[in-house]
Symmetry: C2
Subunit: 478 residues, 2 copies
């Protein structure tokens, strides 16, 4: 996932984002139970229990996730592996008997990493652990060899701007492991997103960052960077936390570290991809839609099992279980596995534009993109009354400890954000994300990090929330 | 460290070792306090407090460790970096004013990794994360391309022996994260040490293991392997835990994984190295010696900061602080930074042989080789009365929670084992090793894993134990 800067290309949002994350937007006071309160708890108890029971008993989604990530590997936009994985998912959805199974075309950015390396030349020879940032330009053919200037923050770069010219600037901004993971990410990711242009502005030849990660075992973490159009585009890569600290220590001891950075990264013409869509059509109001999904694309390292294969397959399984149990709600439930969440958001923008005329009838859009760790509940981007109603539905999930519903304070999930902007209530599945940034965007985002039981509880939470909202007599309040 | 199979070249010991580790050798019953009991607590309270206070206030060892590992990097036997690091340590010891500072020559094995890679060829193309095992032979120039047979244990290999011929065998034996770290290591490391010959015996072309690690982020872990002279030597490497599980899942789904393994490893003629020795000569009985040390060599990945730069420098600092405080004990305290602990043990054997005639006057040999994490106390390889006396000294360390003294149940520390075999009482510094096998023998064994406060407490524990034993009127009972 890349939320925390919901619209990737909206720099304005990115620029204010760290502030937003830190701001403690107060959650609404616990809304007193309205008169009809008992009805949800009573009316949907049986359906919820059936969905929860089926989710906990059926490991299909977990097994399918293993097959997909082991068979196709990671799935960056523009890659053959992404499109093959999409073909495979569509075929499986058809065997599930889901309705309206389709791939909805969208053109996506096509960035290719190519070979890349960073060598410490002085004071001693050493191969640094790095991953180029998504969207980075290449170095010249022979690489860039320059002394390194390490700074801890944008402020420090400003103070030392005169020393940056001709250097490779390294931002060694630590991940605050004492803060909530997403708040800490919101701070640190600024250096990945804005770092290259900040460094270019003071004359740097290339930009390195300390990987945005809450734990490291020499595994660098990639992710998108965004160039400011007003300054030169310089090559940009993430070092492992260990190697960033090494360069910082050398500088602190008065040693000049010289690094040769070589990157072959290239951006090719946009490539065709697809959002994966399948439905369970509503029994009474099929034109009203509850969307539940995750994203099918990933970065080009690891397996994209946590980010976001697990979330995508959990959403798919939620709808599959409704179908299997014969639980067809009044409204349509539509599973959407967005493409290109990681480096462009073209999937979610494409969905918004394709369904622009139908968004009034989109009752809710849920995304699961925080890993399928132990679920806690939902964050709601919507009105107080939507939060209050969702809280009642959350009560059905108390038995699996996934019933906490709160107003979203850290920005909508990336793929539902364009819908939220058009007035559609949004939700994100909240989980125990304490290990999320150990693996995020790294080679360690692999299937073994997924716990089958946790994933099953995520399926249950998504299924109950989507089903009940789709079946309620009245739409979720806007 | 490589203890758990104390004599690397004694296969008999290795073969029975897992059993030994599991055997619960009962600790001696708490010895009733003898008459002179109060004397240690009273007589040495002041010296202990001074040593503890100085250890906690003086971060020289921590800073020197950073300088050494950042300047010279890792330090495999036979490497230039090891010998340069030894030169640097000797020079620093002389500036400390330690006595008898010297490098004592020993010839060490000289294994060189060379380039190495493992590519999954089928069912899809993927670069596996691997590290060759120390001592492995090379593959033929074009590599070895073969189907993989995954087994979970030696027993399973025996059962499926008919399927192993011509294959690359992968042992996917998991690290038992529910057991104590060293007990779990003792089990799993058998596959690293004995795996290649077990696989060769049933006709395998090469051997892969799941890295012996209690947590993984795609970081493979190396370590020594030992060929049985009765079967062919086949190339051997460790995969990351993630990649071992990937190959296992593929096999479980009925897919044949084909891997091309290419390794250029070579064993060169033995190379000269040195044990680093320095002393604080005893005021009354200078010929009686307390040894305290760690090992200066490391594997050829990461920085060898945890294994065992930290332990070695903590021992050095313990003696340095006695010198600085003017605490000269009756007997000589000798810091020894052994070379070649990791792949041969030539340093500890060389020490034993050089001092063969003096071992009767070696009162105690302490090693710190479990990482300088939060210290807990000491494990004693010696008589019940030695354990009882050491427990009294441990009482002086209760204030820093490092005072638990128990009989060693899992084998002596590797570098003191040859002395223990000759009757010298041995000790190992015990620490909170819960993260030790996250980083052990991997690229993630770097300086950032060392906590300055924990390391200082390790220094304090070593200093107090070594000083008091060296100063007691009577030698530690044998």
């Amino acid at each position: 996932m890349t939320h925390r800067y919901p619209r990737l290309l909206d720099l304005r949002v990115i620029l204010v984002f760290a502030g937003l994350c830190a701001a403690a937007i107060p959650a609404p006071a616990q809304t007193p139970a309205p008169a009809g309160d008992q009805s949800i708890a009573v009316r949907y108890r049986d359906a919820a229990d059936r969905l929860i029971g089926a989710a906990l008993a059926d490991s299909t989604a977990y097994r399918r996730l293993g097959v997909m990530v082991d068979t196709f590997g990671n799935r960056l936009s523009g890659s053959v592996s992404l499109e093959r994985a999409i073909d495979w998912v569509l075929a499986q959805m058809r065997t599930d008997g889901l309705e309206g199974v389709r791939g909805e075309p969208v053109m996506v950015p096509h960035w290719v990493r190519g070979r890349e390396s960073a060598e410490l030349i002085r004071p001693r020879s050493y191969s640094l652990h790095l991953l180029g940032l998504g969207g980075s330009v290449a170095t010249p053919a022979g690489g860039i060899t320059a002394p390194v200037l390490v700074v801890g923050s944008f402020d420090e770069l400003t103070r030392r701007a005169a020393k940056a010219k001709g250097k490779i600037v390294l931002f060694d901004f630590p991940f605050d492991t004492t803060a909530s993971p997403f708040a800490a990410y919101g701070q640190a990711v600024q250096y990945r997103v804005r770092g290259p242009s900040a460094a270019a502005r003071v004359g740097a030849k290339a930009l390195l960052i300390r990987s945005v990660a809450s734990r490291s075992m020499q595994s660098p973490h990639t992710g998108v960077t965004i160039y400011d159009s007003t300054v030169a585009r310089i090559p940009a890569a993430a070092l492992s936390v260990e190697d960033a600290e090494l360069l910082h220590r050398l500088q602190d001891r008065g040693e000049t570290a010289v690094v040769r950075l070589a990157m072959e990264a290239s951006t090719l013409p946009d490539a065709p991809s697809r959002n994966v869509v399948a439905e369970l059509r509503g029994s009474e109001r099929p034109d009203e839609v509850v969307v539940v999904g995750g994203h099918i694309d990933s970065w080009d390292v690891g397996q994209g099992a946590m980010d976001d294969g697990g979330g995508a397959f959990a959403a798919w399984q939620a709808v599959r279980l409704m179908k299997q149990l014969g639980l067809r709600p009044r409204r349509t439930v539509r599973v959407v596995l967005w493409t290109n969440e990681e480096n462009g958001g073209r999937g979610n923008l494409g969905y918004r534009d394709r369904y622009a005329a139908d968004l009034e009838r989109h009752v809710l859009a849920i995304e699961s993109d925080n890993g399928v760790f132990a679920p806690l509940g939902f964050g709601v981007s919507g009105s107080d009354s939507a939060v209050a109603l969702a809280s009642q539905i959350g009560g059905l999930l108390a038995g699996i400890k996934a019933g906490v519903v709160e107003r979203e304070t850290q920005g909508s999930e990336a793929d539902v954000e364009p819908l939220v902007d058009r007035g559609v209530p949004g939700m994100g599945l909240k989980v125990d994300a304490s290990r999320y940034f150990w693996y995020h965007h790294s080679a360690a985002d692999t299937f073994d990090k997924i716990d089958a039981g946790d994933m099953a509880r995520c399926v249950a939470a998504l299924a109950v929330m989507a089903y009940v909202v789709a079946d309620l007599p009245e739409p979720l309040p806007r």
